[in-house]
Symmetry: C2
Subunit: 340 residues, 2 copies
Amino acid sequence: MTSTSITDLATLRTRLRDLTQPDPAAREAAIARDAMLTKPPGALGRLEDLAQWYAGWRGEAAPRITAPQVVVFAGNHGVAARGISAFPPEVTAQMVANFEAGGAAVNQLAREAGARFSVHAIALDRPTSDFTEGPAMTEAELCEAFAIGWDAVDPDADLLVTGEMGIGNTTSAAALAALLLDGSSADWTGRGTGVDEEGLNRKTAVVASALVRHRPEVTDGLDALARVGGRELAAMAGAIARARSLRVPVILDGFICCAAALALDRTVSGALDHAVAGHLSDEGAHARLLEALGKTPLLELGLRLGEGSGAVLAIPVLKGALACHSGMATFAEAGVAEGG
Amino acid sequence: MTSTSITDLATLRTRLRDLTQPDPAAREAAIARDAMLTKPPGALGRLEDLAQWYAGWRGEAAPRITAPQVVVFAGNHGVAARGISAFPPEVTAQMVANFEAGGAAVNQLAREAGARFSVHAIALDRPTSDFTEGPAMTEAELCEAFAIGWDAVDPDADLLVTGEMGIGNTTSAAALAALLLDGSSADWTGRGTGVDEEGLNRKTAVVASALVRHRPEVTDGLDALARVGGRELAAMAGAIARARSLRVPVILDGFICCAAALALDRTVSGALDHAVAGHLSDEGAHARLLEALGKTPLLELGLRLGEGSGAVLAIPVLKGALACHSGMATFAEAGVAEGG
């Protein structure tokens, strides 16, 4: 599928169902290699599972991560006018400039992780429609943003992180999760970048209003994404789907990234098998969302920044797992006696 | 204190009590800087605490980590003859050769983290005495190993990880923790590198026997270290103490490293203020030991390898924290509106 064929939701759905799968032979070869490495069986814990999972997706018994990519998408939200963020909407564009200048947290973390970084501002002068009054995006707008995400993935990348910036987007993500999963608006609504009690009440009311309007009619993940999502969420979904088609493993970030990923997961079952959860964020509903996705986070450090920051911080864990798996000596090579 | 003055325990104790302290002004300056960075207050969670803690120890408002050091110590244990490990004692020397050749897990992780690596085999041909029959080490032997650790720290390092290798040393660590803290031998004994049920029973009996012999007489952490520790544990304690004197922050590794650190902590209160816990290992009693040390682990990935591996895997977390803290733009620099 090329991005030019992403023009309507029906076609997109059909194409997404053709899920690329990992290579079972490479995974088996990785499991066999693990058993020969100079360590007690299982002693590297989750690093061993990660290495074997990654090997399957890359189709190699002993791969390494040398070209991680971090891509951040930015969008503006009509619903921001309802006073649901601690920051004014202008901050989205200001932070895009900060990303471009290399001054944000994710820039520092991407540099540390040796990752290529890019940011895509999507129609910041055209906020999505207020989803309490109707769909946030038309089908064409959703497809356009999805295609931007699709095209943003470097085919030579060997690991992808998608991040976001968009004042109001925890409200959008909360509505998306609430539409697709069980629970009340309060279950899915949190403080985001730090709204006060009144702001939180407004946010919860906005999500409740979205549920009343959209829940009776929602059909699947992509439909929900159009109804209450944002352009940056659609682009993240597009990038994660594109990574799947390229067999590029993904590290999911926090609440907003996971809500965008959920839209894929609830459109095509198994659509996130090539993804791991980078971290558990401090946004209250993230744990519940990860549970719905069946993902166990790699890190838990109380981050609640977005931008992809928590997932980028987890890149070195995955790099370390592959460095051990593919770089360690075997018992035979090192002349070390095996246990028994 | 130079290593040449580490000749007897009484002198060592006296010298250790003269604890180097962090710079409160640098810490305050780091806290002030954090408030100006382009992110919502607190949004980097624990990374913010880590950066401020590190800044205080390094005496700089905006430091970076550029010279981490990983040092692994190896020793042999008389108690290994009691069948308490899944591996034969020869593996200690074989793994030292593997470390020297760059083939072990910790080598790969240290390379990924950009850390300088060295290994110190300490008198492998002279195992410690079987501590069920008497003290593992004489005072002179303890001081000699402690001094080796002391001298192993590079004064130009800006972060230290101490790792270990020693067949039988989870038994030694369990006895050390049990001697210095509450709980039965079973509370502190686990599977180590993977002993079977019978091996675990022998291990628990060995620790119980150590408690009967040594508990009535133990005076402090260093005394306990001589009674049931090992040369590699004493060297880790020496390196951690030396890092303190140099204001080099430390990332603690798993159960054995933490038991060695406990010996310092129970000799001089506050001796580990310059250390964070790198990870929670899969060795059952590690959680209890971290609790006794008052440390919250950075990672929890089910590792149970030792070698310093879990702590080295945590180096990028700390590097990332400082990269954000010292590299991000301020609101004023980036022209980003602050929230309210």
